[in-house]
């Protein structure tokens, strides 16, 4: 679903990566690893076309734009959990069914917080709301930048199950994280210096 050929990026006079070629096929998970400041987030943004000061060929073969969880979560503080989830659906032009939103809220352990403003949620809970976008829509490719930070142990095992399920249904995932991913699927690793 994604083919990258000789991608390179320089930022503030520093070479982040050069001659990077890889592919992502349906049912595959690509883990991007590397130290702080090694360009993991930048690579993800380059792949999505959010950062364009780069070179190389990046070709997506997907029918719907990938879903993205970034450092900025895309969550409005003065909207409730449900309203934020609905907004994700509006953006992607998906007629999101209310029962899927309710289901996502329940699965993410946010039951009882449906009508709470996100300003009153903890960091981890806000992250869970942002992760909700992956549950309410069926986009084939997920791009996640540090999805595990601020998430507790329960949430972590749920997230792993979520990744596993998406891969089983032939989805593709690109993840940048320091955490080891525990799913029974081969994991492709891309290390940035």
């Amino acid at each position: 679903m994604l083919q990258v050929l000789k991608a390179g990026c320089e930022r503030d006079g520093r070479l982040l990566f050069e001659d990077l070629s890889f592919t992502l096929a349906p049912g595959e998970l690509l883990q991007v690893v590397g130290g702080n400041g090694s360009g993991k987030s930048t690579l993800l943004r380059v792949l999505l076309g959010l950062y364009t000061d780069c070179h190389g060929d990046i070709e997506w073969a997907v029918d719907k734009a990938p879903l993205y969880l970034g450092h900025r979560l895309g969550i409005k503080q003065s909207l409730t959990v449900i309203e934020n989830l609905r907004w994700f659906g509006v953006l992607r032009e998906e007629p999101v069914k209310e029962f899927r939103i309710d289901e996502a809220v329940y699965k993410l352990g946010l039951a009882g917080f449906e009508d709470t403003l996100c300003a009153y949620l903890s960091e981890g809970q806000r992250k869970r709301v942002a992760l909700g976008q992956f549950l309410i829509m069926d986009n084939p490719c997920w791009v996640m930048d540090e999805p595990f930070s601020a998430i507790d142990a329960d949430g972590l095992s749920f997230l792993m199950a979520m990744l596993q399920e998406h891969l089983d249904s032939n989805g593709g995932i690109i993840i940048s994280t320091h955490q080891s991913i525990t799913i029974d699927r081969p994991i492709n690793t891309l290390a940035l210096q």
């Binding site: 950062y51 409005k76 003065s78």
Partner: protein, 222 residues
Amino acid sequence: MNLFFASVQRDLLVHFRHPSEVLNPLVFFIVVISLFPLGIGPEPGQLKEIAPGIVWVAALLATLMSMDSMFRSDFEDGSLEQVVLSEQSTFTFVLAKFVSHWLLSGLPLVLLMPLAALLLFLDEAGVWALTLSLLLVSPTLSLLGGIGAALTVGLPRGGLLVTILVMPLYMPVLVFATAMVHAAEAGSDTIGYVYWLLAILFGSLCLAPIATAAALNLATDQ
């Protein structure tokens, strides 16, 4: 279309829950206007003479106050990059932003105008001309200001920069609008000014959303 209405609704909801951003410019507007009779003296003739200028300058400054926050929270919380990422056009989102900004800052100013005019002893013709001119101009102010707001959204403290960028664009509107009120007070025909203000409005309606959408795409490109 869905994005347009959902976005307007979302903005209204957000500002309804946290009204301070909307109320501050309006309070500022009234405070500035009510200071003039105190500073210059409650001489109706003198106040009436300078009233259009005072009201207009106060309205411009109040609009500029609300300008900086137009895209800032969406940029900071990541909503903006989600909009850019989704396959929907940034253009629709920008149009919705303009509509909600006008509903929240332009329209309340228009509604406050008769009160402001009373404070400055304007006669009936003057009040009507002033309100009409603001009604015609306030969407233009939102549109032109949006360009400045979008260009400076990535900067940590863009407030003053927006003013410097946008003020020159506001000059022609200010000139025509005050001239229109003076003409109305003198009892002469104002239709020419109305045409001019409408022309500027439609001109900016055609160009400002394109420029703003381009500036927002640039701002998220980092």
